[in-house]
């Protein structure tokens, strides 16, 4: 395997968790819910998933429990912002703090434990092709699932009747309610989906990316996923592009650090974040202010019955 090939493969690994978390948050935001708790839900997914994988000695169990943990945390958020019509920004921030703290507690006994790599796809002939073989036909299941998720969300939003309902609810919840659309139910499902995705992204970090657990291992990836949704103007395909841009920048700066190019490593570590912010600013300047944001994003909904 050449260095170039290795870099391409690590880019995919670095981008996948961002993509999964971002696509979940994107669906929640299209329904009009801003959940700033992605970081916390990812941390919970990573900790619980890792604990379950060790405990049951099963990757599948780890994945299932990680998804459930993210979903459970999202359910708490849903209760606050839908049931009690609480402020979404405040509730989301609290969720992140809760998730980070709780994950540290749950993960503590597992610090130092390691998992074996999960199996990668192997199609004889195809996987062995030079350069593109491993890249396209030799990834783990998460990578293919993340791409399938993007496709599914694209089709759901554009074609499905329920996708139309979701967009309508996110655009104007008062009108949606007046037409008899189930505003709260739609939002509940969207929040839970976002939680499940964040949990899955977390599991990916602890079971595939590092293969161990350490406190705070999400390292702001939840926040990056949130920024990606805005950066992508709430469009799934742009989110895919954004996630891979960030992943590429992350991997390249790591190689730059290793290559001793004479810049302080702290500065290089900041490159992906700076690149994402620049791309965000550039896009919003080109496209005009906040165009494309769901009309009811962040607004609590209280039906007047």
């Amino acid at each position: 395997m050449t260095t170039f090939e290795a870099i391409l493969l690590t880019i995919v690994t670095a981008s996948t968790p961002l993509l999964i978390a971002a696509i979940g948050e994107l669906v929640a935001e299209r329904a009009g819910v801003l959940n700033l708790g992605v970081e916390g839900m990812m941390a919970m997914g990573a900790a619980c998933g890792f604990a379950a994988a060790i405990g049951f000695n099963s990757t599948a169990a780890g994945i299932a429990v990680g998804i459930l943990a993210g979903t459970a945390l999202a359910a708490i958020f849903a209760f606050a912002v839908l049931g009690l019509a609480a402020n979404q920004v405040g509730s989301g921030l609290a969720l992140t703090i809760l998730g980070l703290g709780l994950s540290g507690l749950i993960g503590a006994p597992f610090v130092g434990a390691r998992r074996d790599p999960i199996p990668h796809l192997h199609i004889p002939g195809l996987t062995d092709l030079p350069v593109i073989g491993r890249l396209f036909f030799g990834q783990d299941a998460f990578v293919y699932i993340s791409l399938a998720l993007v496709m599914a969300v694209v089709l759901f939003l554009a074609r499905a009747r329920s996708g139309l309902t979701l967009r309508a609810v996110g655009e104007n919840h008062s009108s949606a309610h007046a037409l008899g659309l189930p505003v709260l139910r739609t939002r509940l499902l969207a929040i839970l989906f976002g939680g499940a995705c964040a949990g899955l992204a977390g599991v990916y970090l602890s079971l595939v990316y590092t293969r161990f657990w350490s406190p705070g291992m999400t390292a702001g990836r939840g926040w990056i996923a949130l920024a990606l949704v805005v950066f992508a103007a709430w469009r799934p395909v742009y989110a895919l592009a954004g996630a891979y841009l960030f992943g590429t920048a992350t991997v390249l700066q790591l190689h730059a650090q290793a290559g001793q190019i004479g810049l302080p490593s702290q500065l290089l570590s900041a490159v992906p974040y700076v690149a994402t912010i620049l791309a965000l600013v550039l896009l919003s300047v080109l496209r005009g202010r906040a165009l494309g944001a769901p009309g009811a994003l962040g607004a609590p909904f209280v039906p007047d019955r």
């Binding site: 309508a168 655009e171 104007n172 202010r289």
Partner: protein, 517 residues
């Protein structure tokens, strides 16, 4: 659409049996009885008017009928059977269609998507699109299925609502203030459509406070006041004045015109003002020429969203003009000066939005008085608020414009729409400005408050001030303006004497069909 025009909609129904009867409907919100024992019956093929002032309980009643709000007491009888309408989906299943006043549309979705979202059927988007085109053609309601809604005019938006309603083949169509955003021509087209629908045997509940159109369209009218039915009558057999008195509970006077000629000096002169749109939802102001003289009321007519807010922002200084000489107040070029500087030149401004733009909802009236007086008045000195004078100022505004307040210095949001509007207009008038620019002075306020505000504007002009009124209400402009110009897509026509305009001409100009010569 399975229904062919001309087929009776109701089958096996005696024409005399009401399609729907409301009995003793009541709705309580805390201490407020929004509806109090309302009885109402509508027959198939009937266009029934529901008349009343803002706050009389019309909207609440309609929401109950459409299942959005649950009544506290009373029963709804549909085709002879008592029913409980728990949600809009159930209402639609019964055959009730609704055209909302503030359109229940989704700006970022297309026309077809907006319609599909309200239909609960399993029909594919493609079939729905085909039916949409068929129905809109059959009723002469032209619509392009793939346009995004935010690019459409108010008339087109209303057509979406009507087509959406018709695709469900309703027996009863409820229209809430349908003409409030339409040009006279668009309103005429709407009336033709409604008469045709009634001819097919569909019942129509027509909610309005505009008496002339109700007298033209309806044979039965139910008048509401303070949540109660005060009369059920044939609007063609009563005078508009008589019905208005029933709605308001007392006689509404007319605005006394002033004999001013408006021959004074130009208090406001706008020359070649061009201002690019700040965002894609706005219009670019193109080469605006406008002059308002002392002693006259000048009006600007236009359909909602034709560039009025953009023009107001440019005149008030909320947005600065690229060239300093493109706006002049009292002979001083001020295109580059902000709103405070323009106030110091003797100008005053009342924006369209009462809550959030003209007034801060959670601030007291005295604090709200500060908002526009801080630069010119005695209420703030050296950065320190003078509370006493601010309270006295708020008190004199309240007294001058007869603002009804629940307590001596309440928060702005505690006032009703009409009273708050009187306050924000009064706040500017009390400064005795040389120029007053007011955007939609009586939008959504009751007839009594509207008359008072219009009289205050006319009196201000009679006292020698220049008044510029931007309004969507043609009746208002014809009543108080000396001259009227029309704004369309960010361009303004020449201002002509009010007597030189007919309603038809002005309606055409509002739709952009060539500026009337």
């Amino acid at each position: 659409m399975t229904q062919r025009s001309g087929d009776p909609v109701t089958t096996g129904q005696d024409v005399d049996t009401p399609l729907v009867a409301l009995r003793g409907i009541a709705k309580r919100y805390g201490d407020l009885l929004a509806n109090d024992g309302i009885d109402l019956a509508i027959r198939p093929g009937e266009i029934h008017a529901l008349l009343g002032e803002n706050g009389a309980g019309k909207s609440t009643l309609v929401k109950i009928l459409y299942g959005v709000v649950e009544p506290t007491a009373g029963e709804i009888v549909w085709e002879g059977r008592p029913v409980a309408i728990g949600s809009p989906v159930e209402a639609r299943r019964l055959g009730i269609g609704m055209v909302f006043q503030h359109f229940s549309l989704f700006d970022q979705l297309t026309v077809a998507e907006n319609i599909a979202v309200a239909l609960s059927g399993r029909e594919s988007l493609r079939d729905m699109r085909r039916r949409l085109v068929e129905v809109s053609r059959a009723y002469g309601l032209g619509l392009e299925p793939d346009r995004a809604v935010w690019t459409l005019s108010a008339g087109e938006r209303q057509r979406i609502e009507i087509v959406r309603c018709l695709l469900q083949d309703p027996k009863l169509i409820v229209l809430d203030e349908p003409t409030s955003v339409l040009t006279p021509q668009e309103a005429d087209r709407l009336f033709e459509t409604l008469e045709r629908l009634a001819g097919e045997g569909r019942a129509i509940l027509y909610i309005s406070h505009k008496l002339e159109e109700v007298r033209r369209l309806c044979r039965t009218a139910t008048v509401l006041r303070n949540g109660r039915v005060v009369a059920t009558l044939d609007p063609r057999r009563r005078s508009a004045r008589e019905i208005a008195a029933l709605m308001v509970g007392s006689e509404v006077g007319e605005v006394k015109p002033h004999a001013g000629s408006g021959s004074g000096a130009e208090a406001l002169a706008v020359r070649g003002l061009t201002l690019p749109a700040a965002n894609p939802h706005e219009w670019t102001l193109k080469d605006i020429e406008l002059a308002v003289r002392k002693g006259e009321v000048s009006g600007i007519a236009g359909i909602a969203g034709s560039g009025q807010s953009e023009l107001f922002a440019a005149l008030s200084g909320e947005r600065l003009a690229p060239a300093r000489d493109s706006v002049a107040i009292a002979g001083t070029d001020c295109g580059h000066i902000g709103i405070d500087g323009r106030r110091r030149l003797g100008a005053a401004f009342v924006p369209e939005e009462r809550l959030g733009h003209a007034a801060v909802p959670t601030h007291r009236l005295s604090e709200n008085a500060l908002l526009s007086h801080h630069a010119t008045g005695e209420v703030a000195r050296g950065g320190v608020v003078a509370l006493g004078p601010a309270r006295r100022l708020a008190g004199s505004i309240v007294a001058a414009l007869d603002v009804r307040t629940p307590s001596p210095d309440p928060q702005a949001r505690q006032l009703s729409g009409g009273n708050l509007q009187k306050f924000v207009v009064g706040r500017e008038i009390i400064r005795n400005p040389a120029l007053l620019v007011v955007d939609q002075p009586t939008w959504g306020v009751d007839a009594g408050a509207a008359r008072l505000i219009r009289q205050a504007l006319v009196d201000l002009a009679a006292g020698g001030a220049a008044v510029l009124v931007i309004s969507q209400d043609l009746d208002e402009l014809f009543e108080i303006s000396d001259r009227i110009a029309v704004i369309h897509r960010g361009e303004i026509s020449e201002a002509l004497p009010t007597a030189a305009w007919t309603r038809e001409e002005i309606g055409l100009a509002m739709m952009g069909a060539a500026h009337a010569a």
